[in-house]
């Protein structure tokens, strides 16, 4: 059952991701991206990480995608009609990406991932509660990264005002 659901979400994610890069109309591409985000949330649930799944839907599908659509409307780019300026780059990029993809697939297919499981197995998470596990790690071991995040958000706030605020 789990494996069927995994392949379902994975297939939707891959097809939608192809849509993001392949569709010529930027609005359609953005909507495909929403599908990618949501199917990722499904995968996170399968990984026993429902908190991340909820955050994924809230932030990525909810907020970031809205921003993308805003930016598309802001720029109102014409629907991409053809090759444009980047003519010879396209086959080159496809070649590089293909090589990288083959390499990654080969490595991951042949790899023996460390079989040792950490202390946070699905059973432990189920028992303690997903949010509790995330929170306990975030507010103790990962305290420093947590506080750095707020500084990062602050810099982003300043940056957006500097760049986008009319004066």
């Amino acid at each position: 059952m789990e494996i069927i659901v995994f392949y379902l979400f994975a297939a939707i994610a891959v097809i939608a991701a192809l849509g993001v890069v392949g569709l010529r109309n930027p609005v359609y591409a953005a909507l495909c991206l929403a599908v990618v985000f949501v199917s990722f949330a499904g995968l996170y649930v399968l990984l026993s990480a429902p908190f991340i799944a909820v955050a994924q839907v809230m932030i990525y599908a909810g907020a970031i995608l809205i921003l993308f659509v805003f930016v598309i409307m802001l720029l109102s780019p014409p629907v991409d009609q053809g090759e444009g300026a980047l003519k010879w780059q396209k086959p080159l990029a496809l070649g590089f990406v293909g090589a990288l993809a083959v390499q990654l697939v080969l490595v991951l297919a042949l790899a023996v991932l460390p079989s040792a499981r950490g202390s946070l197995t699905p059973e432990v998470i189920a028992q303690r509660g997903d949010v509790q596990v995330v929170g306990a790690a975030l507010f103790s071991d990962y305290l420093l990264p947590f506080e750095m995040t707020s500084l990062l958000l602050l810099v982003a706030i300043v940056g957006v005002i500097v760049l986008a605020k009319k004066r």
């Binding site: 390499q103 990654l104 490595v107 991951l108 042949l110 790899a111 991932l113 460390p114 040792a116 950490g118 306990a136 103790s140 071991d141 990962y142 305290l143 420093l144 990264p145 750095m148 995040t149 500084l151 990062l152 602050l154 810099v155 982003a156 300043v158 940056g159 005002i161 500097v162 760049l163």
Partner: protein, 477 residues
Amino acid sequence: MNLDLNLQVIAPALIVALSLLLVLLGEVFLPASQRRWLGYLALIGLLGAAVVAAMLWGANLSGFGKMVVADAFGLFLTLIILLGAALSVLLAFDFVRAHQLDTGEFFALVLSAVVGMIGMVTATDLIVIFLALELLSLPLYVLAAFKRADKRSLEAGLKYFLLGAFASAFFLYGIAFVFGGTGTTNLGRIAAVLGASPRSDVALVGMGLLGVGFAFKVALVPFHWWTPDVYEGAPTVVTAFMSVAVKAAAFGAFFRVFLVALPELAADWRALLAVIAVLTMTLGNVAALLQSNVKRMLAYSSIAHAGYILIALVAMGVNGAGSALFYLLAYTLTNLGAFGAVIALSDGTRERLELNDFAGVAKAQPLVAAALTILLLSLAGFPPFAGFTGKFFIFGAAVESGWAWLAVIGVLNSLISAYFYLRPVVQMYMVEPAGGWNRLRVAPFVAFVLAIAVIGVLALGIVPAPVIALASGGFLK
């Protein structure tokens, strides 16, 4: 919960972060006429952090579950970064006023970049390194585009942002692979896992992707394409800051990750990085030969210098890391000084950017011309300046570790570089001045930066021994 809340370890970054918050609050609560004090506030924060960093020297503290350390390597780089930032702030005092940039935001963004940089060089966990990398990059994207009325500045910001975000994604992907291959993000534990288990291809892919991220940040060929456009388009003082401090921070993390976490894979990455070093030096120097714009020339020169420093990473060991630290210090002083001279020679907001703008400058501004000459000679690696001793240590480390051919290519490249570094000198001294430039008094802060740079370059060049001893003591344990 076993926390080691060792706030001492992050004290320098904390001080800078605190002054960042104060500068931001000052920007919104002080009347516009008082905002120039924010620059002094930033400067005080940087100096305070430097004092604290110096006090931590030798204690070898670590904190937050070994996520950060204050070892000699990290502290040496912290001091380099703070020096670079403080000199940039001094250069910026009059620059932001002349170019009518937002004062508070400018200094706040510089300070936040500094927090990220200090984080990068003192972090021993890939998660912290990544966050620090972002904390370093975000403000620089904004700073590159800071002159919003200038199309080139906006282009620089956009280009830097798009390519930088792409590189960050590679870096993050690399972290994921390393984590997948080893089950940890702590640098020390990664090394332990890799040492105890058979060769992990997953970690190897992770190493490659991390390398791409670092290569972008320090501008190694073939990830250097953004450099000339961004350096040219960004406001000069931002270019000066970027060209030195980002290199120190990114190379710091580059060295730490590869030497501490991935020594087991050294056979793989050494050969790869040696090839990249050759390409980077050669392309940087040859392309610099063809430039007529001084900022672009210095951009390609910074690419070439990244290639020299990469040789030190290939050399590995105490000598490699020590010579890299020395070189980064020398490069910071020299390059900031060179950009300081460009700022000193500008006429209000009009800057001398083309080579022939420098014609006859020696007559109008003999002192600035002399300083620029010394700094350019140091960049080219002439004795008795810091650039020479720095290259000497790096090439020496390469020879000792059996990479003599790399040192030979480095020397040949230095010879090529002498040509383009001397071109502005020839213009300044041997060509009649062109009209149309007002002779302006050099701002005292800029003059001070030039003096520090020249004195530092001479001191490091003539008596390098104490500093190289400190730098080599900074080797990662």
